[in-house]
């Protein structure tokens, strides 16, 4: 009989050792100590025994029960410790994707525009909005581009039925800003939509975005212009940015320059700049004998295309989700 008991204890001990989790261990407990467990059936045998045998057998049963119980408790502590300290087999698969709503995105054009703006704000420029439905005066005449001027050919403009022009460049803000803010020093900028009657192709869209800047003070020079443009370019393209300045022509600046940036081994044209012409300062009510300054303007569409490697301007106005989610 006691051999049977030993076998029972051994089997119980083996099961306890084999248990890998608290629930498996609990199964073992039920199997031996539960209401219909193996010890219960041994207890049944008590009824048929004499009082002396009963006492003896009762003691044995108690011993068996206690040793199983002790083993269970010890194992339980170990398992609980394990479960706290390390991954168990049934731990969650942390590599499954998180449940989330799809994120939104800023448009690459607007993100680029905001970035340019924030660099310039840091350099002391104020940002304001100016009209898109503009008078010919501010868009052309005030910028030293009278009606007969051949430079107007560079801008094929949209006119409203009431005779206004849809601004062909953000430079239209220059003399407005000079008038609005009174005597220099002045550092101002604006950005937004511009309109030209261009045929749509991979690099032209009749409605596009520009950002224009002016700085006027007693001694602001071409050398200062170069410095500001390097600050801007290094903010956009990194500290080791290379720029190239080429002579160019804008009716409202002299000297004028076209500025290229070295990007992926190629020179890319990014902006036009120059010293504000005395005629323009005068149109803005600024004494050109006392004050001088620079102006520059850049195409935000082109800048966004360069920065993000977008090959076709039309993609930016089609607003396809597959495109917008990439930025």
């Amino acid at each position: 009989m006691s051999e049977n008991h030993d076998a029972l204890i051994e089997a119980a001990m083996a099961s306890i050792t084999a248990a890998q989790s608290l629930s498996e261990l609990d199964d073992v407990r039920v199997q031996y100590l539960g209401k219909k467990g193996k010890l219960k059936s041994l207890q049944e045998q008590l009824k048929s025994l004499s009082p002396e045998e009963k006492r003896e057998f009762g003691k044995t049963l108690n011993n068996i029960k206690q040793s199983i119980q002790t083993a269970l408790t010890e194992k339980k502590t170990v398992l609980e410790q394990n479960e706290k300290s390390g991954p168990a087999i049934d731990a969650i698969d942390v590599t499954l994707p998180g449940v989330r709503a799809l994120p939104g995105h800023r448009h690459p054009l607007m993100a680029t525009m905001d970035e340019v703006k924030s660099i310039l704000v840091g350099l002391g420029f104020r940002y304001d909005d100016y009209p898109e439905v503009e008078s010919e005066f501010y868009n052309f005449d005030a910028l030293n581009t009278p009606d007969w001027h051949p430079a107007r050919d560079m801008h094929d403009s949209f006119y409203t039925t009431k005779g206004n022009v849809l601004r062909t460049h953000t430079s239209a803000f220059q003399t407005r800003a000079m008038k609005n803010f009174g005597p220099p020093p002045l550092r101002a900028m604006t950005s937004g939509r511009c309109y030209r009657r261009d045929e749509i192709d991979a690099s032209h869209f009749p409605i596009f975005h520009q950002l224009d800047v002016i700085a006027i003070d007693e001694n602001i020079s071409f050398a200062d212009l170069k410095w500001v443009l390097y600050q801007l370019a290094s903010g956009l393209f990194g500290d080791d940015v290379q720029l190239r300045f080429r002579p160019s022509y804008f009716p409202f600046t002299t000297p004028s320059a076209e500025v290229d940036v070295m990007f992926n081994g190629k020179w890319l044209e990014i902006l036009g700049a120059g010293m504000i012409r005395p005629e323009v300062l005068q149109a803005g009510g600024v004494d050109s004998e006392k004050w001088q300054g620079f102006a520059f303007g850049l195409g935000i569409d082109r800048m966004a295309m360069i920065r993000h490697g977008i090959s076709d301007i039309r993609l930016m106005y089609e607003n396809e989700e597959a495109f917008l989610r990439q930025f």
């Binding site: 994707p97 449940v99 709503a101 799809l102 994120p103 939104g104 995105h105 800023r106 448009h107 703006k117 704000v121 840091g122 420029f125 104020r126 940002y127 909005d129 009209p131 898109e132 439905v133 007969w148 051949p150 949209f158 006119y159 409203t160 039925t161 009431k162 020093p185 939509r193 009657r197 009749p206 409605i207 700085a215 001694n219 602001i220 020079s221 071409f222 050398a223 200062d224 170069k226 410095w227 390097y230 190239r244 300045f245 080429r246 002579p247 160019s248 022509y249 009716p251 002299t254 000297p255 004028s256 320059a257 010293m275 001088q292 106005y317 607003n319 396809e320 989700e321 597959a322 917008l324």
Partner: protein, 818 residues
Amino acid sequence: MRINTGWLRDYLSEDCKESELLDAFMTVGLEVEEEHNLAHALEPIRVGFIREKKPLADADNLFECLIEIEKGKLITIVCATAHPVEIGWGVPVAVAGTKLPTGAFIAEGKFKGIRSEGMICLDGELGLIAKSSGMQIFKDEAMLGASLPSLSPIQESLVEVSVLPNRPDCLGMIGIAREVAAVLDMKLKYPSARVITPAANQTEKVTVAIEDDTLCPRYACQVFDGVQIRSSPHWLKSRLQTAGLRPINNVVDITNFVMLEWGQPLHAFDFDSLKGNRIEVRRMRKDEKLKLLDESEVDGAHQPLVIADAEKPIALAGIMGGLNSQTTAGSKRILLEAACFESVCIRTSSRKLRVSTDSSYRFERGTDPNDMLSGAFNRAAELLQDTELSHAKPASDVTDQYPNVREQTRFTLDSGRFSKILGTEISDTQIEECLSKLEMTHDKNLTISVPTWRVDVNNEVVLAEDVARLLRYDSIVMKPLVATTTKGRVSETDGLRTKIATFLSSNGFLECRTPPLTTEQIALSFSQWPGDPIQVQNPISKEMTTLRQSLVGSLIEVAERNARRGASSFRFFEIDRTFRQNDDQIDERWMIGAVIGGAVNDSAWIASEKEIDFLRAKGLVQNLLAHISVDEIAYERDTAAKGYRGEEFAVIQHGGKRIGALGRIDLDALGIKDRARVPLYGVELDISTLIKVKSPARMFAGLARTQMIARDISIVVPLGLRYAEIEKSLSNAFEAAVTNLVTEPRKESDGPVSLQPKLESVICIDTFVGESVGADAQSLTIRMLFRDETHTLTSGEAQQLMDYVVEQLHSEHGAVQR
């Protein structure tokens, strides 16, 4: 302007590397649009040997040639007799499908039923300037199939430069060579211009009458006799071809060549078709007509400036000659003309009559009346007399009308001012050196005389630019801005726009950029404010005629476009201006527009079954407004703006004033096919108003440490009673209940306490309509959160308040507690 660098070198005193020449273009400010190094660009041109040649039936000027282009491979090419070829010659062949550097595309063609599979190329057609026969000929059979550049070294490029509009002097080879020479430290080599000595037998005399010399400051002409009209020599033809002009006959070619060389347009009339030995430069009379060389006819309606003989107009001044006086194969005597016209006058005529030519292009930008005669006219006169060319003899003196001689402009410069503008030290000597390279002369006081071809120099700052570009822009050292400090900032509106864009893009919205210029239908739908539409008078397409009054229409197009691509969930926004005109006042109103629809939680892998409905869309608007501190917002029913459905539409108000709208889109009304297949909602808010009504920085309201009491009431109310009414009554009832509140004793306090509980939140958490509540009724469950700031309310006190509220709702609205 297309420039062959081989031709350009004719005018440079020294030789230089091709790459230096190309760099020089950029340095002086000539923008190189396209550049073909002919040594590479002519790689596809192969030497083919002519094996057979026979005249084409019914065409006496065409030959059919069989040409071997590689060992054993023969193709047929039909060629003209313009350039003779012989059997056994090796010639440059472009097979069909080749694009020549001059831009011409060689396609297969059919002539009199014979298929031609390529072209035998003349030098000019290849973009090369001819050195001898005008076509390269090879005799050595070993060269069969070899590429052209591998056989004879080619050191020419074709460069397409865009000449800036302020520099018409660069619309000729000499002008460009002058700039290039200045940069490369060379001398400009002018072509020989022999002054014409009057011929012995002057038989003709032509008078010139200029009606208004402000429109025509100078006019010169001369008769030439014994003209032999024929084809030009190869050196001349090829030069015209490289520039993209078609050779016509020697006289026309000479005038074109001189125009390309000097930038000065010239014209040759058939002298025998002119009447009265008299040239008039005058406005066209209203009843006159003139047929131009291109056979189009102009009338006198706009009274453009014309050249006339004693009887009739013979040319549209500065633009195009007349058909009635053109030089033809039979012309014996010609009248050579050079003139200077006022640019605005030519520009106006050209625009009004819609005729633009190489000639008008140059006059519109300005020409030099001094170079006109001494340079261009004399050069053309010399070429006309050239025996190799037309072999003509002068038959009259030069008649030259030049009443007001244009003098050189003079500027007294200040090197200090130049230094200040450029931000680098510039000396008098540097200024003198730089400007003399551009043929400007100076005296001791730094007074500079500017040649009359520089029509752009109207201010001394232009000379500062000349100095800067000849010193090179890159040599000006940048320096940190030293100036008065200014405050950098974005405008308040712009700050708000960024805040809104950030909020929406953090809430799953995609930002769009759609054209503000759109169709009238899209532009005027969803418009919430009165005002005339702003339309363009010269649209480029029907899709872009009107400036929009709302952003929603464009965003619907975006949603539909994405629906076509398979999207089922839509969250798009845009921040932009909308446009209206009230009399002369233009209203450019900044708006935020959004379109939303589809699954609420558009997670990539656990799809929600819930779809966006009106209240969910409203919830987003509420959160947005809370985010930007706009409080006290009311949503009211109103007549829906066009494009919204009336039953799901609200105008959004602040202080009784409209700040926006929210509603379900009515695709049917817009005539748009529903591809989204889910309800779409549009929202639009007026940023210009939001900026005015948003609260300043929020103030701290204190923290109550007592426990919040939450009570739900479920009531049945008549259908049609608006929730806002119930909520208003409920708040009023709660306030009244507080005044009647009987406080209960508390352990912490011996005496009675004073209680002022406040209703902190009222939320409708459920609505139900159904049989169990009756036909004309609905059930609402409303959760109220309230507390007193100093004492936690007892359940008895809370019950008193609730009982009173329920009673009030019953007496005011007949509400019954469920």
